[in-house]
């Protein structure tokens, strides 16, 4: 478990970054927010490429910056990996030269088995003697990623590494991310403004807006926070569930998923029984009813639930968020009129009709 404490105040042109957080970083942490919200500046401060005049940065016991004591560890001594938005390979070195550049300097004790392992994970075995100008965008990005991984970083920082790639190349590189995570277990801080590309990998989420961290926590919590709609975009407010594929229903062309004791039906996907599938249910896609009317509507997925509490909306006076318990908490947004009409109270039993389920990677 790594604990990151970061406090930065810096003015860059007419933009102000003002961050003060303490968060565990393990697994995949996404730094999410609209363009210009300060994600990249924050990442540059963590890496030390930018030095905030008022700054404090600690990872576990190690202090990387403390301006009150004039401590500042330069980036080359921090043992971080940094993957930039554009691939940034050294043009005068071939793939192997690029890969060994950081390795030689930061992890000379490393044995060749790790080198081979990472080269293999990133699918670069046949590329080693090629020069960057002869690689495609996706291949370059894999080299950049492998180059950073080979320094055995304490923390891997990634700044929109997929932004410069088209849809197909993005899909191509995601499996490499997954393998990297499961096989190397390096904490990753990943900056993006389009969550769908990585939502299936995310454990923890930091939400940024206008130079500040608005929310931090497990991704399910942040996305189901009823007051974050204005920062996240209302389409993202909802619930994330990690489900397991039970079977394929060939007759109706559906895929059957299981979550706790609940069964969910989604349009057929190319998956196999036992696969894990992360799904997202928008708060706006849930209809509530007092009576079980499942067999009287066209809605396939109906879950019995218990009302935890109702939360008035911040920015939309006609809406109300309702937190429900279905074994975990799930968020629904309804109108205030419906709330009063149905007379919904905390502790009440109720039925949640789910109009639509999205796969995490198909969000938009």
């Amino acid at each position: 478990m790594n604990l990151l404490s970061a406090k930065f105040k810096i003015v860059l042109g007419d933009f102000k970054l003002n961050v003060d957080i303490e968060t565990p970083v393990h697994g995949f942490t996404v730094l999410f927010g609209p363009s210009g919200s300060g994600k990249t500046s924050f990442l540059r401060c963590i890496s030390g490429l930018e030095r905030a005049p008022e700054g404090f940065l600690q990872i576990n016991e190690e202090i990387w910056q403390d301006e009150s004591r004039k401590i500042f560890i330069p980036p080359n001594k921090r043992n971080i990996g940094y993957v930039f938005q554009e691939m940034r390979l050294f043009p005068h070195l071939n793939v192997e030269g690029n890969l060994r550049y950081g390795l030689k300097r930061l992890a000379p004790e490393i044995d060749d088995s790790l080198f081979s392992q990472i080269v293999e994970i990133m699918g670069l075995v046949s590329f080693l003697s090629r020069y960057p100008r002869n690689l495609s965008g996706g291949e370059k990005q894999r080299v950049a990623l492998a180059r950073a991984l080979l320094t055995r970083p304490r923390l891997l920082l990634m700044d929109e590494p997929l932004a410069a790639l088209d849809m197909r190349r993005k899909q191509e590189i995601l499996p490499y991310f997954q393998r990297m995570q499961s096989e190397l277990n390096i904490p990753i801080l990943y900056v993006t403004h389009s969550l769908n590309e990585v939502l299936q990998l995310v454990d923890t989420m930091l939400l940024m807006d206008q130079g500040k961290v608005i929310a931090a926590g497990p991704v399910e919590e942040v996305l189901s926070h009823p007051h974050l709609g204005q920062h996240l975009g209302h389409k993202l407010v909802g619930t994330i569930l990690d489900t397991t594929v039970v079977r394929q229903d060939e007759e109706f062309q559906l895929t059957v998923l299981k979550f706790n004791s609940h069964t969910l039906y989604v349009p057929r996907r190319e998956v196999s029984p036992g696969d894990k599938l992360r799904i997202h249910i928008r708060a706006e896609d849930i209809i509530l009813s007092i009576e079980p009317i499942a067999n009287k509507t066209s809605v396939l997925n109906v879950l019995p639930a218990k009302v935890i509490k109702t939360i008035p909306s911040d920015d939309d006076k006609c809406k109300v968020s309702v937190k429900l318990d279905i074994g975990c908490s799930i968020l629904a947004t309804i109108t205030r009129k419906s709330l009063s009409h149905l007379n919904i109270k905390s502790g009440q039993n109720i039925f949640a009709h789910i109009k639509a389920i999205r796969m995490a990677h198909e969000l938009n």
Binding site: P74, R88, Y101, G102, R105, R133, T151
Partner: protein
Amino acid sequence: MDISNFNYQPIILTLQLAASTVIVLLVIGIPISWWLAHTKNRFRPVFEAVVALPLVLPPTVLGFYLLILLGPNGWIGKPVEALSGSHLSFSFTGLVIASTFYSLPFVVQPLYNAFDSIGKVPLEVAWTLGASKWDAFWTVASPMALRGYITAIVLGFAHTLGEFGVVLMVGGSIPGKTKVLSIEIYDRVETLDYAHAHFLSAGLLSFTFLVLFIVYYINKKLPVNFS
């Protein structure tokens, strides 16, 4: 023209001068260009203008001030003479100093352009990969600026070969010490020895052309783009 008693001295002296000047220029030109390419100092235009001065100034003006500076009573000449006991003006060392000023823009500008077009991003990448700034300069910036280095060396060398006014002012025309090719050619023309003047001029012309041609050819063959 009698080839057997042809005087090679001015040619050798000129090559020695050009080579020494290029070495001195690299030592001082690389830090200057690097600084210019990365500084945010608001006085940068002042330094850029100073570096570019020899491009437009008549060599005689430059030579005149250098003569005063390097002379036995000059700011540089006097202390040097006190320390070493020898004159700076009308000496080979004086010529190297003068040529350094004279050819400075021809070395600084290609290097500056090369460093500037590389930008700071490759250095940041190297930095995050554990390279110190010094390390990154030699292992990333310099190989990427290879074209700039070649252009700088060749232009600095070729431009020094052809200098006349500054040399005449600072060095005079002492055979074996300061009498370089361009002055030798001038002397030959003065004494109406056109054959000799032709021989030297044509030689200088072909040599310079060849060198420049090789540079442009190599530069075309060196596609170093950051991607």
